[in-house]
């Protein structure tokens, strides 16, 4: 029996059934037609401009840059900033690979495939190779999107587009085999804590690579990306290699690009070989990790109740909480108990303390000459994005579909408020603990003490409302998958981005962060209000339908 043939046929069946499902209701493809139209518009527009005004190619930009005589800090920080984002993503993925519940399989695989006489090593290799497809698709879309924006600046052709896609694809692709390798080595040798230490050390080294040049420079922001933004950082594994391939557009040295591609290929072959040699009976651990993964997915879908198991720091804590009241308050009580076991305090925990601590440390060192307030501003803005994503990632929205939620004898707004009340309290307490010392130590505007918590709350609510609307409003999984990007895109393009743009404008004009937060907060109030209205409407209809 050929395992590859067996698995390929299974996946082909799944693909065909997927297409059949989409064809049953082709209207779902409309948002994607819009995206295709969007990209086509930029490419076609460039085609017509080209004939009118001739090429504006890279050389002209290079000449302009040369005239500046020295490397501008803006350029260095732009390159460093993008590299930092990629490094952040790499660290996130490496950290994810060290989690105990990493699994590449479904429970159907566990029950049907792993008990069958298929060779486990071949199953692992097949799944590893298969993981290249999402990487190719994702990077192709990303390249299309980014080149649509840069189309007027650079002379794109199939060749350099292909190289750019290759740089991104290889980066995203290699992460998956690395995760497989960590998983394989850990199941055989139980080395997870060594890997965790390694990832932590790498994070520390990378942080030092920003801190050291930053502190050596006259101003921190002038030097912070001097190392990771420099040419030699192209030799840094994965992130640097991909940067070397993608920046072919700038250096135009095909040997450099091919050299990095070759390094990627050799690394992949090495990882593949290691996985084959060390795979052993890895699948004996598949059941527990897959089960825990699927539990998370099912919680979001509402098939299971939110449990205390994942990411919990304090599961064994003995609690003796009194009742908070009757009716919908029971939901708040339940969340409170859950949160008490998740962290050391239900309202403010360890993670919050770390994030607030980072901000306070930044505020302290901002009193020295070499550090800049702009980094604190960047950190505060990052927190907004983080809380938006946290709102979107809430798994307890599935509870809204549960019979107990619908049947609790209380009004709908009261139930809804009690389900989000703890999140709102936590968000506001975190924001206050972070911003008050930061403002006082760094001598920022006092208005931020009100505006930062407010903005954080609106971003959180907007994210939560998006997830709630898509998960609770649409029963069909496929509709959810197609509608969610549309809603997220809509809120992002027509709500969040205009609010942030208003904030940036306010900052440019006033040179004060407090006005940026004021403008963003005003915009986000509207976004959060609209999204809450939509969410409430959808959930009240759901309650009516269920009854």
């Amino acid at each position: 029996m050929s395992e590859f043939k067996l698995l390929l046929r299974k996946d082909l069946f799944i693909l065909i059934n997927n297409i059949k499902l989409i064809l049953k209701n082709p209207l779902r493809l409309l948002p994607y037609l819009f995206v295709v139209g969007y990209f086509s518009f930029f490419y076609l527009r460039r085609g017509s401009k080209k004939t009118e005004s001739g090429d504006l190619d890279i050389e002209q930009f290079q000449d302009a840059a040369d005239q500046l005589g020295e490397m501008s800090f803006t350029q260095q920080n732009l390159m460093g900033g993008i590299t930092l984002l990629a490094l952040g993503f790499l660290m996130f993925q490496l950290n994810k690979a060290t989690k105990k519940n990493v699994s590449f399989f479904s429970m159907a695989d566990v029950n049907l495939l792993f008990t069958s006489p298929a060779a486990p090593a071949k199953i692992l290799i097949y799944y590893m190779l298969r993981s290249i497809f999402p990487a190719v698709g994702g990077s192709f879309i990303f390249v299309l999107y980014s080149t649509a924006q840069l189309n007027e600046m650079y002379d794109f052709n199939i060749w350099n587009l292909l190289l750019m896609s290759m740089g991104l694809t290889l980066f995203f692709f290699i992460l998956s085999p690395i995760r497989f390798l960590v998983y394989t080595l850990n199941t055989k040798y139980d080395i997870l804590h060594y890997v965790k230490n390694g990832v932590f050390a790498l994070g520390l080294i990378l942080s030092l690579m920003i801190l050291i040049p930053g502190m050596m420079a006259e101003k921190f922001w002038q030097g912070m990306f001097a190392w990771i933004g420099s040419k030699w950082f192209d030799f840094f594994p994965l992130v640097g290699w991909s940067r070397g391939i993608i920046t072919y557009l700038g250096h135009e040295n095909i040997w450099i690009a091919f050299g990095f591609i070759a390094v990627y290929v050799i690394s992949f072959l090495l990882i593949l070989n290691l996985v084959i040699v060390h795979s052993g009976y890895y699948y004996e651990d598949v059941l527990e990790s897959t089960k825990s993964n699927e539990e998370v997915k099912e919680k979001v879908k509402g098939k299971r109740e939110a449990s205390e198991s994942s990411m919990s720091l304090n599961t064994k804590k003995k609690l003796d909480l009194k009742d908070f009241g009757t009716g919908a308050v029971a939901l708040y009580w339940r969340n409170y108990v859950h949160s008490s076991r998740q962290d050391f305090h239900p309202l403010f925990g360890l993670y919050g303390l770390i994030f607030a601590g980072i901000s306070i440390v930044m505020a302290v060192i901002s009193n020295f000459d070499w550090f800049n307030h702009a980094i604190i501003y960047g950190y505060l803005a990052t927190m907004l994005g983080f809380y938006f994503l946290a709102g979107m990632g809430r798994t307890n929205v599935g509870d809204l579909k549960k019979p107990f939620f619908i049947l609790i004898p209380a009004s709908w707004p009261s139930k809804f408020w009690n389900i989000i009340k703890l999140d709102i309290y936590q968000t506001l307490i975190f924001a206050v603990i972070l911003i008050i010392p930061t403002v006082l130590i760094a001598q920022l505007s006092w208005g931020l003490m009100i505006l930062f918590p407010f903005c954080l709350g609106t971003f959180y609510i907007a994210g939560f409302a998006i997830t709630l609307t898509t998960q609770v409003g649409f029963d069909e999984g496929w509709v959810r998958k197609l509608i969610k990007p549309l809603i997220v895109g809509g809120v992002l393009f027509f709500g969040i981005l205009p609010s942030l743009t208003a904030g940036v404008f306010a900052y440019i004009i006033s040179k004060q962060l407090v006005y940026a937060f004021l403008a963003t907060g005003m915009g986000m109030t509207l976004v959060a209000a609209v999204m809450l209205h939509v969410a409430l409407d959808i959930v009240s209809r759901l309650e009516f339908k269920e009854i």
Binding site: M1, L6, A108, N111, L112, L113, F114, Y281, V286, E288
Partner: protein
């Protein structure tokens, strides 16, 4: 056919399965009983290789239980019937037929689907099936390769009365064909009439492992007491 020797499975410091040994001869049907958390499912998952045993030896048909050769000999029906969301009922059976190299699978698949009232649902996707129907698909998938050993973990859960009756009938037929069956269940009457032997587990230990008459004699419950009475007597808290 199945030999389990000194099997231990620990979760942290907790012994879910506590140094148990037993064996099943070819053609033997053994009922595995025990209260919730007794270690029945864990034992079964260790045997089929879905959980890593802490220590011990397990062989199926003389082969190590993790070898491909052993896997050709057995099928497993899990307690929770997970199926592929985007494969139809028929495609699940086709998948299994390929995995176990089943010849003439379509005729056999048709027979099993008819028995479990799945014929009219063969083109339904896994995600559109009820829990009971998923369980039926799971059972059909296990029976299709016609294995020598079958591990049933709570096979009756979610099944309708007709399917339960059919499953009991299938147990008898499989027994007559000389298949070896280990069935874990809470439905005591389901195994009372067909099991050659009963194993009762509690707190990770086997507290009884014999034929029903011998168990009754050993534990002095009288000839007219049922397996249910015996089970309750053996598993009651001290």
């Amino acid at each position: 056919m199945l030999k389990v020797n000194s099997l231990i499975k620990k979760y942290g410091k907790l012994n879910a399965v506590n140094n148990i040994s037993f064996q099943l001869e070819g053609g033997e049907v053994v009922g595995l009983l025990g209260p919730n958390g007794a270690g029945k499912s864990t034992t079964m998952k260790c045997i089929v290789g879905l959980l890593r045993k802490t220590s011990g030896e397990i062989t199926i048909g003389g082969y190590d239980h993790l070898s491909v050769a052993a896997k050709r000999l057995f099928s497993y029906i899990p307690e929770t019937p997970h199926v592929y969301d985007l494969l139809t009922v028929k495609e699940h059976l086709q998948f299994i037929a390929q995995a176990y190299s089943v010849k003439d699978w379509q005729t056999k698949a048709q027979e099993w689907m008819e028995l479990y009232d799945l014929s009219d649902k063969q083109d339904k996707l896994g995600r559109d099936l009820s829990k009971g129907m998923r369980q039926k698909v799971s059972i059909c998938c296990a029976l299709l390769p016609d294995p020598q050993v079958l591990f049933f973990d709570e096979p009756m859960i979610g099944l309708d009365p007709k399917a339960i009756k059919n499953t009991k009938k299938i147990f008898k037929e499989l027994k007559e064909k000389g298949k070896t069956i280990l069935v874990s269940t809470h439905l005591i009457d389901g195994v009372e009439n067909i099991a050659d032997r009963i194993m009762i587990m509690k707190d990770g230990n086997i507290i009884g492992n014999d034929t029903l008459p011998n168990l009754k004699a050993t534990f002095n419950n009288g000839a007219d007491s049922s397996l249910e009475d015996l089970f309750l007597e053996l598993t009651k808290d001290e």
